[in-house]
């Protein structure tokens, strides 16, 4: 298996199944998160703990609430119940702690590429220091533009760039704020396959270079397995002790580490990757295959689950 090797999966021992103690290393921490819109429960008791420097990818069937979970972490929406904290601080409204890259509307149309990148540092300065730091901000923005290999396009407007280039600018725009965590909502979803692959490699290189913590939502399983160091599957297809007809939202049903050795895209076609895709399809995406809540594949060392007695019932 050239290029990539996955963490060897082993049988979980009983001890590992038990919710682990919260470790001090937890960087992003979600506990007992519920989100419902009116009567419709979308997220149903999400527990998640993420270490610093991790590249999390989140997949799930459509309508499972992937983007909702991302919006909760972003602070754009508030959970109906539960607590989210980043680096020990509880999450409020969107702020520079969390960077965001969307699929659509990646840039501000009325600003040039360079102005788009400079926007963050400029907004956080007052008038006086803005004058003082003018040169420094420009240089920093140029460096970031260079980092995404678009140095010669600084004076163009977003509409003059291709979709892939716009997305690269959007990444630079978010990274210049040095966010504690970079959130990405299907960032490459609207791109053609060639550009998408190119940007995936690019993002991985960037992640390795800058030791970022990334939380990426995608509907593309191959992409999720290729990019992540840890894959989460959010799904509404499971069963528990709450009775057949009870209204239930999505839970994390799959949580496994992915070990990466190289960034070659060849790894996408490897047999191991294919097997993993098949397993995730079955356990997370198949409405007919209902795993019991106590049998989820939550092998990752950071994974934990808080269940009520009722839920645990068979």
């Amino acid at each position: 298996m050239p290029g990539i090797r996955w963490r060897r999966t082993r049988k979980m021992t009983e001890a590992e199944r038990k919710p682990p103690q919260k470790t001090a290393r937890a960087y992003l921490h979600l506990e007992n998160i519920y989100k419902s819109y009116g009567k419709k429960v979308v997220l149903d008791d999400i527990d998640l703990q993420v270490s610093e420097g991790e590249f999390i990818t989140l997949v799930g069937p459509s309508g499972c609430g992937k983007s909702t979970l991302l919006r909760l972490i972003l602070g754009q929406e508030r959970p109906t119940a539960g607590a989210i904290s980043i680096d020990g601080l509880s999450v409020g409204l969107p702020n520079p702690d969390r960077g965001i890259v969307y699929q659509k509307y990646p840039l501000f149309p009325h600003l040039t590429v360079l102005e788009n990148i400079m926007l963050g540092p400029r907004l956080s300065q007052n008038m006086l220091s803005l004058l003082k730091r003018k040169r420094a901000i420009r240089d920093e923005a140029m460096a970031h533009l260079d980092m995404v290999k678009l140095a010669e396009h600084g004076d163009k407007f977003p509409h003059q760039l291709s979709g892939g280039m716009q997305q690269r600018v959007a990444i630079a725009q978010a990274l210049i704020m040095k966010p504690k965590i970079l959130l990405m909502d299907e960032p490459f979803g609207a791109l053609d396959p060639g550009t998408r692959e190119h940007l995936q490699v690019f993002l991985l290189e960037l992640w390795e270079k800058r030791h970022m913590t990334v939380f990426l939502v995608t509907h593309d399983l191959e992409e999720a397995i290729y990019l992540g160091t840890r894959i989460l599957v959010l799904s509404q297809f499971y069963c528990d002790g709450r009775g057949k007809n009870s209204e239930r939202g999505s839970k994390i049903v799959f949580d496994e580490a992915l070990e990466r050795r190289a960034t070659s895209t060849k790894a996408k076609g490897s047999e191991h990757a294919r097997n993993l895709v098949q397993r995730i399809r079955r356990e997370g995406f198949d409405p007919m295959y209902l795993q019991h809540i106590t049998e989820f594949n939550l092998r990752h060392r950071d994974s934990f689950q808080t269940l009520t007695e009722e839920e645990k019932k068979r």
């Binding site: 972003l74 702020n95 965001i100 969307y102 659509k104 009325h110 963050g120 907004l123 977003p158």
Partner: protein
């Protein structure tokens, strides 16, 4: 080599695939002209645009000529030379009583009122519109009120305006302001709401405060829309101005028109109407060009 035969026949329209063989088939010609996908040559296009004007002028001249034959002193439909004379007199010779150029004075007076009125309404409605569009609280408070205000016909409350603001400059400016402000505000609020939520959230993650979101993200993107809405409101501004000037004023294009109408003096009225049309056209064209030139990204946004 295949000899190509080129015919002399130039059809009224670019030939479609259906009628290439029988160019003289008039019925097919007509059918093609009325097609939903009819295409015309550039010359024909210009002709078609000018056609209604040609007819209009023709009908006017014929009617004018007819009346002149019946009555040599007819003033109602004057011949163009008479209009030109009258226009020259009012535009380029000093008025005997005041020693001023009346048409110039009228134009300045009207443009001043419209300029001040529109600046006031555009300036205040951009602030109001952004606030209403951006904050759910103010949207809820104002959305019903704004709809209510836009439905009131401003001319209906003109008498009240004369009572409150007197009969001088202020009442005209206020009328233009009140007549255009709710419309522009509503448009700006809509445009603000249409700015993707993602952009607002993103600017917050880039460290923007609420004020900065309004000033640095929303306002610049609203500017071309404001100009466009203002451009479109100028029509109703002229309407209100001329109505107000017709009722109570001592100068202005509308004042002159209403004054002249008392003497059935159409040789002044018609040139004045054309002049107002021309002024409106120039302002409209300038604003349009300015938007295209200054906000290159806006046009593109609209197209996509």
């Amino acid at each position: 080599m295949i000899p190509l035969k080129t015919g002399n026949f130039v059809p009224l329209f670019k030939k479609g695939h259906a009628v290439t063989e029988r160019p003289n088939d008039r019925l097919a010609n007509l059918k093609e002209c009325l097609s939903l996908f009819a295409e015309f040559s550039p010359k024909t296009k210009v002709f078609l645009v000018l056609l209604p004007f040609i007819i209009l002028v023709g009908v006017y001249l014929a009617a004018s000529d007819m009346r002149f034959r019946e009555n040599k002193d007819d003033k109602f439909l004057p011949w163009p030379t008479k209009m030109a004379e009258a226009t020259y007199k009012i535009a380029f010779t000093e008025d005997k009583r005041t020693g001023r150029y009346l048409m110039l004075d009228d134009t300045i007076a009207s443009l001043r009122r419209i300029g001040i009125g529109m600046s006031l309404s555009a300036g205040s409605s951009v602030v109001a519109g952004i606030v209403v569009g951006l904050f759910p609280l103010f949207r809820l408070i104002n959305i019903g009120l704004l709809t209510f205000l836009t439905i009131i016909p401003p001319l209906a409350i003109l008498p009240i305006f004369f009572m409150v603001f007197g009969v001088d400059e202020l009442v005209k400016i206020m009328l233009i302001f009140v007549g255009t402000f709710p419309w522009i505000t509503r448009d700006i609020a809509h445009a603000t709401e249409k700015i993707p939520k993602e952009q607002i959230v993103k600017s917050l993650t880039l460290g923007a405060s609420r004020l900065q979101v309004a000033r640095k993200i929303v306002f610049p993107q609203i500017m071309p829309i404001l100009m466009n809405t203002t451009r479109l409101s100028l029509g109703s501004a002229w309407l209100l101005l001329i109505a107000a000037e017709g009722i109570a004023a001592t100068s202005g294009l509308g004042y002159r028109i209403f004054l002249m109408s008392r003497y059935l003096n159409t040789e002044i009225i018609i040139p004045y109407v054309l002049w107002i049309t021309f002024l409106g056209f120039v302002v409209d064209w300038t604003l349009k060009k300015f938007i295209g030139w200054n906000y290159a990204w806006y046009k593109v946004e609209e197209d996509t």
